[in-house]
Subunit: 369 residues, 4 copies
């Protein structure tokens, strides 16, 4: 086996679990070590994890001893790529240290997202933001690539192909699953049979992250995409899948059929390169009257490895120049671990991960040229 | 006892149950008979009802024999006021017949809502629409007064006091409880742990009904309130309480504190008259960061008889001239049975119910003048 | 006002909230102060409580400053009766100290339940165990009376009237609501759409507490009721109401109609004395095929003040000498705060609360003489 | 392709969907046609099905036109094996007619379960009952093999290996998922956040079916297994997975470790033959304190094709000779479609399906020879 040695930081949480699940038998990466906070460290993974993602933890990870989160330990383990599912307050420092030690960090944490050298990358949307990493690499040795907040990921993917019609205003109301708050983020008494119309920091994140993601890269910096938005976030008693009700004021009135075509045929670099975790199409338009539904559409996407990477759009309507629709994004896969892995796959293919003469091989395993 | 003899049509459904609950010991009305479809008719109420509203059915109704829905039977029973919780397809004809026979119908059904002689009445919002009934009375003997769709009721109440700031556009996304679909409207497999982003006819109803409710009465007709709206309705796994995420483009930017004051102090004729089911304030502004919540705020309103009649508004924010907020309406009380009863109370106080020399007395029981 | 000055310890939790709700306008007791841990102390009750019981917190309590849990503070406040909803590990010491200072503690905590001088009291079941308190009073000045674990309360009430038929074996499987774990006892990810077939310590408590409760008081000590039991406890995604599926091996085969009569007519001392929180009948037999259901039967019991104090029994069947049935107990009311209050009411009526020459009056308010 | 031409009757229901899912790429069988009631017939499968089982319907079935349920149509289609997920009232006649026309019916319907010539087959438990089919075949040409009620399947598997310890009494309380009632069996208002302590006919079925399944085949007839049972069935708000709380009076006291070994190592003929849908072990003992849980353990079993075929046992305790434990069975897979398919696989391997000289080949595909 010649995959790149990788580690998962924050391995017991939901996103950490999803990393481990999606990295199982991955053609580019293997999970060489898993890290968590002191509570879990030193014990077998299977003894500390409350596994809540589909299927079961891979046997080899189940038997791993969870390592204590610690720079030296990661460096000594010969890890090259780090997938971070750490809480924001812990992630900031350790991710910077890893970068300073020639490691490549693909992070789901929000700590570094708004740093101007660090992209919030969704490869189908803003692949050229990956150029920012060379700046980091030359300065620090390694680099950090973040992926966005879970709700932002779905919205950015849906908006990207319709930027051409001129977006004047975006109004969003979200219906976010409890898994978005992590394993322990919500008590049962709070949310069972209830809605909580507030998610701390989420509305701000959706706005600032979206504006950064949709910015144009002018060859050196990001030129801020500036469009008014109003966002209202609610937590709903659903386990997985964030639904978003979106109204977009467009410059032009567009035929609905054209919108459907634009969305359904949308592809980006990951599709062209055939990256292992790239869905055939990142957007799926459902023409059923009552879709998407989290319970039915959360794992859209093919091939198998890309299930959950496709955002489903439905209920497309128009009122003058206002386009109204609903989208569904799998918050743990496309909105978290899946996009991080896709970002790492792209970085490998773009030869941004130095010191690995194993890529060619790994990439062949990925089925690409 | 001198209350006006009343009947509940569609007595076994959720709204029918709520009528029965709210009419218990009512100072103006008593439940003299209950009517339902053939399936239930002829059996004791307690043997056919699946009681799903708070508390238990009043003893005297539990023992009533459910009558078969039939014009003659209602006329012969000496019923003067009819509260209708019938399905729309059944309601149309029988309600018209009752009107033609000098009966006063307060209906939760949608059948007659858009008829130009028939008001969709929310007394705090459009009390002068009650003038339309004299036209009906002179032509038919009786009259029909409808109340709006459940989601519309909450929205109309929230928008009424801010009309003064000039409403340019309304964007709404709803989070509607399963009880809105009635006792049998949704299967458990469809909605448990899921969201359905579609409710048949609801979006159209919200738009057309709202425009009618907010119309100005020019002394003879309604002058249509014409404001662009986009509405997106979703069903969520919550039992009672419709939440709505609202963005309103205002002509003027208004201070948030002024909005809070405007909403919190809003009162209408029912409050002035001290109608039995009128809440002290029809709107309550919550300044908590994470309210309103269906599980916590669904029964807002006092006194006791008016619990569930107050709409709670929260999460008030502004973005330029765009006002963003969340509202919660009890779909079965303020959005259905409660407003119907309030409408009937108002009609009694306005002396629109002829042939009853008992009002004075009843009204004294209501504690007014 | 001449009610006895009382305090609620652990006022922000679910049981604490229920105490406050049930003590509102109570004829015997008033809430003179509320106590909680350091996190909440010093702030207004309405600012720290997440109110999750029906209705809203009484206005006067909403405005109270939560006191820090501390012996001196309670003593100085002139509190005579203490309702304790503290966690077991905190309750042990402070409850003992209060007893040593002539205070009367009615506790929902498990800390002292198995102490041989302290009764686990359910007045309809084992009123004579109240005799144990004189032993305490003479030794300590005050006394502690506990009420049982929530599931035990329902089971003890159901078994008491059929002891006469000779109980040989009791097999119980429970379906316990999430509120039984308190406000923060379960995460949403753990229990939403799931069952957890284990509740720490619960099975042991049900067995040992039941045996103590059903013991005979021989005038001095309790003579242990010794019957084999197997108990299996599960948590289910229901908010309030513990259901129990029970099989009882009886010495004799009994006619089902006789069982129904025995249960339905069962009354105890609280009913005879007309204690304010005593339900007319502590047991209700439902003969519907599919009852009791937590969603429908959780608040059984009348009058109003006693809602939730009646245990509902249903699905009575027999197989030879094995009696099979289902029972439902409101875990927060009959299983916790309600029984504590009933215990205190009984102690007042039995004149076990010394130094109050106000009882006569208070009792008249309770409508008893 | 040389698989045996098969059809799924009742293809739009939950069990029908699971049949289609599990038969996809099956080495022995292919789905040549799908049948449903008149409502769905004549339309594309993807247009009529509300797909609620994991993953998506196989592309080739999505495009199939649903056939009207009709004997001639099935006969003319050259179908040899029929998987029936019909409602009991429809299944009785058509299944008999198919048998009379040399077809082999593997049925999930209850219609024929208690017929003395027709086995209720769970191959790991009562493989020799398959002998009954020769009697049918000689009389009718074809045969019917049923599988048990969903809850019975789990219980029978758990009891089989411990029959050796002498079972004197079985007490069961179930926690059954809503999917057990089919797609439309329960309304959301009935079960959301609630428990219904009654499932029509279920308790009787569990008892009579279990006694038949555990009967001994004496070479000609079944000798009834006669053990007293009490069963209490409840519906809980969980989507998939029936939990059962079981107490078994054993003749002998057995060491818990011996029980664990007995259960964990239990295998039957399907395991020996390596049938495609046979799990490596039909029983899995979890030694965690709080397992099995429907949300975590519902899809236990390997290899991939056998996921959901393993019953998980946990919380093993003893009280004298009474053994107490909890089991979890996937009601749609092991409790329905999966066992039907396993039965058909066994029939093929036992050469009971005449006129197919393709078995050898198919079986090789199954990896056995």
């Amino acid at each position: 086996m010649k995959q790149i040695k990788s580690a998962v930081l924050g391995c017991t949480g939901l996103v950490g679990q999803q990393f481990i699940r999606m990295l199982d038998k991955h053609p580019f990466f293997n999970v060489a070590a898993v890290y968590a906070s002191d509570v879990s460290a030193g014990r077998k993974y299977e003894d500390v994890v409350k596994w809540r993602v589909p299927g079961v933890a891979p046997e080899y990870v189940r038997k791993m001893i969870v390592e204590k989160l610690n720079l030296d330990s990661i460096l000594n383990a010969g890890i090259k790529i780090v997938f971070s599912a750490l809480p924001a307050d812990v992630a900031g420092e350790i991710e910077s240290q890893l970068r300073a030690n020639n490691r490549y960090v693909f992070s789901n944490a929000s700590a570094h997202r708004m740093n101007e050298d660090i992209p919030i990358l969704i490869p189908e949307v803003n692949r050229d933001h990956l150029n920012l990493v060379s700046r980091q690499a030359s300065r620090f040795g390694g680099f950090i690539v973040t992926n966005s907040n879970c709700s932002t990921a779905g919205l950015a993917l849906a908006l990207k192909p319709i930027l051409r019609y001129g977006i004047k205003l975006v109004t969003v109301a979200t219906y976010q699953a409890i898994s978005g708050a992590g394993l322990n983020g919500l008590t049962a008494m709070d949310i069972s049979g209830n809605i909580i119309p507030y998610i701390g920091g989420e509305e701000e994140k959706m706005e600032t992250e979206l504006q950064k993601i949709l910015s144009e890269y002018d060859g050196k910096n990001l030129e801020r995409f500036d469009v008014p938005m109003t966002v209202s976030c609610c937590r709903v008693p659903v386990r997985v899948g964030h639904l978003e009700s979106v109204a977009v004021h467009l410059r032009d009135k567009v035929e609905i059929q054209e919108l459907i075509n634009t969305w359904s045929t949308f592809q980006g670099l990951p599709q062209k390169l055939g990256l292992p975790s790239a869905p055939e199409y990142p957007l799926l338009v459902s023409e059923e009257t009552d879709r998407p539904q989290p319970g039915l559409d959360c794992y859209a996407g093919c091939p198998e490895r890309a299930r959950g990477m496709t955002v489903t759009i439905g209920r497309i309507r128009q009122k003058g120049n206002i386009l109204v629709f609903v989208l569904l994004v799998n918050n743990i896969i496309r909105g978290a671990a899946g996009t991080s892995i896709l970002n790492a796959e792209l970085a490998v293919r773009e030869k941004l991960i130095s010191g690995t003469d194993i890529e060619a091989d790994a990439m062949k395993q990925g089925g690409v040229d």
